[in-house]
Symmetry: C2
Subunit: 384 residues, 2 copies
């Protein structure tokens, strides 16, 4: 499982002392080759953390030998000194592993606007390097948790012999343009950086970019895919892309399932759209509607709030042709009252909303979650 | 005060039996002339309630003799039958008052997707007509409350002799493009419909359009301004516009102050923007950031969440030139750590956030509120 499911990778997770509570907080994933190909996507937030700015440069070379990830601090909005901290971390990893710092991706997550305790980070790199193991994937996944209640891993294996595995963290600030999440995927398939990039972008577009826990976009998001080529097989491009998509979808679903304070996972499917962009715009608008998210929390099939959210978009539709189903019951037909809302059973964690725009044949699925008092409690006390 | 502060208006508020709890739920405001000029702005939500669709047609004539408002039901997403209900309500008011239905504005607020109990509405119109009084403004303001904890009124009087008064309701679903709010303004100044329209649009643009309680846009918003001309004075256009703006600003501030579950009112001022549109876009992005709203609730000066919200906009700025003050303390300078966050005193209800984009000289103020467990409780139980 995790990032060491594929051959050609070692990993570790250690308690470096970055988190005050002594929990694991530093992970290292090393590509032992023979190939060092990599691709990545980053947050589209214009305020980018130092590790994002650094890693964007690294990934341009298409070659990554290692990624070092820390929880306990985002190293975002920390200015030139924060960037120096990221640089020093990459140099330290390069030094310990005998690689070039220009091939070391750095990722951080935690509170924005606070410098990292660099003594802890640098000694933690030594500790993590000592602990590297071909079975270290789980420990790495545990060390990148922040408010996550569980660590998240996934794997897909091809009959052709190659494997795609990965780990993710993230529980809040999940919104399109990615999320407060770090994801590392590894594969032992033999692929070059452009091939990885194509598969990764196709996968994230319909997975991580289509979850929305709270409408908030992070400064630190990163999804990294590294290929070791260790299994010696060059995969069929379509099969590989589907495997990457499946692992991303699995991890994305785990992120929503562990969203801060959530009691419901909401699957929003927009159908009958004129374009896929319309479907995504409508799905996101529904996903971000606080009033609807509260109603779902209260197990109230309040379809009026779905319609009011749709009405704020620029998608093609006529208000009197909108249909909405909640858990399969078409409570809104032709923009008005449909089947009896009492028929909707909302006892279970997963809630399905289907919005039919009656304007075409395109569709999209967005995953979201409800808004709860627990979310408020967790996020009003985070940094204090 | 309220809609009867100006001469030439009578009003009433009664319990018509639309609300199950027996509270006042139907208000009538009548222009007794000599003029019947009027202007209005409506929600920009594309899913519009029946009374909005009706009243948009009425206002095109520039002449309004009365407005009937009900709480206890929004009459939104109720299809052709819901529109017939609105029409029947206007006909009833016209019949009772001896006016034309084409001069009767109808406004509704409450739950979406439920038909109004028309027996109660129509008998309520009789009751309200009987209760009309030149001192009925307060009662009208009380009858339009939904989740409002207080009724909202405001007034401005010119030394030239004319008065602008008004009432408002709204506590949730407040967002630009207006809000779940109904506002009726009256004046005894002698002005025609185009003159009223100019003043009203200028006023709402910088007041009701710049409050945001929860990012949710209503299907029912309406701001109506009626002029009776009863004081016989044609006002100076600029002075009148300022008076309308002042009354709108006062009412808008009251709406935010009574927002559902809120414990903090947040004044977000964006300065140093290249354009006013940039300032508004950034202000709204900050206003809608759930994580920041939770932090403010927890009295946590979490400026990182301000920066992450700014980073999602398309406004002109450089990340390393952003400055943020909370209650006057510049906790973020040049996109990084500024003054000590411990210096920020957040004990009081009003919280001031200043975001300096360092990109020009334009500015805008957006009012918002915090996100609380009480908001979640209130909105997860609203219709059940």
């Amino acid at each position: 499982m995790s990032v060491t499911a594929a051959q050609g990778f070692t990993a570790s997770g250690v308690a470096a002392g970055i988190k005050e509570n002594g929990n694991p907080d530093l992970a290292l994933v090393v590509n032992t080759g023979p190939r060092l190909a990599a691709a990545a996507v980053f947050t589209s937030n214009r305020v980018k953390a130092a590790p994002v700015l650094w890693s964007e440069q690294v990934i341009k070379g298409g070659q990554v030998s290692a990624v070092v990830l820390n929880s306990g601090g985002a190293n975002a909005c920390t200015g030139p000194l924060g960037f120096q901290d990221t640089h020093a971390t990459a140099e330290k990893v390069a030094d310990v592993l005998g690689h070039s710092a220009g091939e070391v991706v750095v990722a951080s997550t935690g509170l924005i606007g606070v410098r990292l305790p660099m003594d802890a980070v640098l000694s933690g790199v030594d500790k993590a390097a000592d602990a590297l193991s071909a079975h270290g994937g789980e420990k790495a996944a545990i060390a990148i948790k922040t408010t996550d209640t569980v660590h998240k891993t996934a794997v897909a294996t091809s009959p052709a012999g190659w494997t795609v595995g990965g780990m993710a963290k993230g529980a809040g600030m999940l919104a399109p343009g990615l999320a407060t999440m770090l994801v590392v995927l590894t594969t032992d398939a033999d692929l070059d950086a452009p091939g990885l990039d194509t598969a990764l972008r196709a996968a994230t577009r319909t997975t991580f970019d289509r979850i929305d826990s709270d409408g908030c976009m992070s400064t630190n998001d990163m999804v990294l895919l590294m290929a070791s080529g260790a299994c010696g097989v060059t995969p069929d491009a379509a099969e590989f892309a589907e495997a990457v998509r499946a692992v991303c979808a699995d991890l994305a679903r785990q992120l929503i399932g562990d969203a801060e304070g959530a009691s419901k996972d909401i699957r929003i499917e927009v159908v009958g759209a004129a374009t896929e962009d319309d479907a995504v715009e409508v799905g996101r608008s529904i996903a971000r509607n606080n009033l609807l998210k509260c109603a779902i929390h209260g197990e109230d099939p309040n379809w009026g709030r779905v319609l009011s959210a749709i009405g704020t978009t620029s998608a093609a539709f006529e208000p009197d042709q909108l249909n909405v189903a909640i858990n399969g019951v078409w409570v809104c037909k032709n923009g008005s009252v449909g089947e009896d809302r009492e028929l909707v059973d909302m006892r279970y964690r997963e809630v399905r909303i289907t919005a039919d725009l009656s304007a075409g044949s395109e569709s999209a699925v967005i995953w979201a979650n409800d808004l709860t008092a627990d979310y408020v409690h967790e996020n009003s006390a985070y940094s204090s």
